[in-house]
């Protein structure tokens, strides 16, 4: 892809630039050799191009909505001081990660493999904040507003919502730290929503508004964008208040894996150990295993799983073989989770290019 050049945003290491404005940058493959993605190599994704620099002292988080008994405001200090801090490791993956690999091609940001990252998030439980607002029994969704704006007034503001039950999940956070440091500007400073297990479209950056709603949120970004055909993907979490006859908002991340250590066309010596490494992740059920095939999928062998950082985290894995015969060898990796769900061998095509978790196949050369 011609547009895929390395470029450096302020405060970031060089990343793969997909678009300058709004900034859409993905992590190069080698970043995923580490189970935790460093802040300065974490992908960047914005829809709207006016992204303010936020001053932590004047930032306010406004909580309210028609399904809250009382509204209130929090400063950053109050957010940190008034609620119990929580830490967890979770994958933040763009719904459209790997869209650029879709066959046939579909329009949109042409992401490769790197519109995702795995970080240790520190923040407070959204449910604790909502408890102070006293939710009414009519509540169906919790909606989020960020600070980014489009240059044109007429462009729909970026607003997202999640079901009330997901907002009340003890792992859903308002996070103010990432890997032990304040969130980078490009990743939502000073606070963002963290919805472990769900795609990043709900992880509102630079969050300034949280509203409890008695009616489904009406927003282009809910009603038109980020939707998948109903019944086509093996997802468990449903978002019933936003479902239509034929489509539903994207919810949890599908089980997936990435080979990080071998690139296409790389050469290895025959009769020497070849180690295939990678990461695997899913929507928070937990990785059960990763299998590798070096014979076009005829047989599969278990890879060794690395340390477990929690059910929402990347799980590293590795597999070593010693090919005897020189020539081209294809390597495939396939993760499965504790629900028994695995990656498909054929892409589950959809127009917006979401949920691409087809088994990767990389050809390497044994010489």
């Amino acid at each position: 892809m011609e547009s895929a050049v390395r470029d450096t945003l302020p405060g970031k290491q060089p990343l793969i630039k997909r678009s300058f404005r709004p900034p859409n940058y993905e992590s190069p493959l080698e970043v995923f050799d580490d189970v935790i993605t460093p802040n300065d190599r974490f992908f960047v994704r914005w829809h709207l191009s006016n992204i303010p620099r936020i001053d932590a002292d004047s930032w306010r988080l406004n909580i309210g909505g028609d399904a809250a008994e009382r509204g209130f405001e929090l400063t950053l200090d109050e957010l940190k001081r008034d609620f119990e801090p929580v830490e967890l490791v979770a994958v933040c993956q763009c719904a459209g990660n790997r869209r650029g690999l879709s066959e046939p091609h579909v329009p949109g940001v042409q992401w490769g493999y790197g519109a995702m990252g795995n970080a240790r998030w520190k923040g407070v439980r959204l449910k604790d904040i909502l408890a102070r607002a006293s939710l009414k029994k009519e509540v169906v969704e919790i909606a989020f507003n960020g600070s980014d704006r489009a240059p044109l007034e007429a462009t729909p503001a970026f607003a997202k919502s999640i079901p009330a039950w997901k907002a009340m999940d003890e792992n859903t956070l308002v996070a103010y730290e990432m890997n032990g440091a304040p969130l980078p500007h490009w990743n939502g400073f000073p606070a963002r929503i963290v919805v472990p297990g769900w795609t990043a479209t709900y992880w509102m950056k630079q969050v300034v508004g949280i509203r409890a709603l008695s009616q489904p949120l009406a927003s282009f970004w809910m009603n038109t964008a980020y939707r998948i055909p109903k019944g086509k993907f093996p997802v468990i979490d449903r978002f019933t208040s936003q479902e239509s006859e034929t489509t539903t908002p994207i919810t949890e991340i599908l089980v997936n894996s990435l080979m990080t250590h071998v690139g296409a066309g790389r050469q290895f010596a025959a009769n020497q150990p070849v180690t295939i490494k990678g990461v695997a992740w899913d929507g928070g059920y937990g990785i059960r295993g990763v299998e590798v095939s070096v014979d076009e999928g005829r047989s599969w062998q278990s890879a060794e799983l690395g340390e477990n950082y929690g059910k929402y985290s990347f799980r590293t894995w590795q597999f070593t073989c010693a090919p005897r015969v020189a020539g081209r060898m294809s390597v495939m990796a396939r993760a499965s989770n504790v629900q028994g769900t695995s990656q498909p061998s054929e892409l589950i095509f959809n127009g917006p290019g979401y949920h691409n978790n087809v088994v990767q196949k990389i050809a390497i050369d044994i010489v």
Binding site: S19, P23, A154
Partner: protein, 97 residues
């Protein structure tokens, strides 16, 4: 150099801060490029066009332009749609412009 200054002025006029690298973008230069810059670059850099090529046929490029008008609120006059879609299809599309 003149073109770089020109595009910097354009972004300045629209009040949109351009990322440093953006001014180095080089798109196919023909008589319609200035129109494409004027109508498309208020909200996004033009690498969006390059990134989405070359796999969209004319109808798909037109759908993108119409989406920008109807959904994203881009104030593109109807008369400009045909030359913009012509440009996109000829340089960044597949099939007949």
């Amino acid at each position: 150099m003149q073109r770089r200054i020109g595009s910097a002025l354009l972004f300045g006029f629209l009040g949109v801060p351009a990322h440093g690298g953006e001014s180095s973008l080089k798109l196919a230069n023909d008589s319609r490029l200035a129109l494409v810059q004027l109508r498309c670059s208020t909200c996004h850099s033009l690498d969006y066009i390059v990134m989405n090529s070359p796999f969209l046929a004319r109808a798909a490029w037109e759908a993108e332009v119409r989406k920008m008008m109807k959904v994203m609120g881009a104030p593109i006059p109807d008369n400009d749609v045909t030359p913009i879609v012509d440009y996109l299809t000829q340089h960044y599309g597949v099939g007949k412009p």
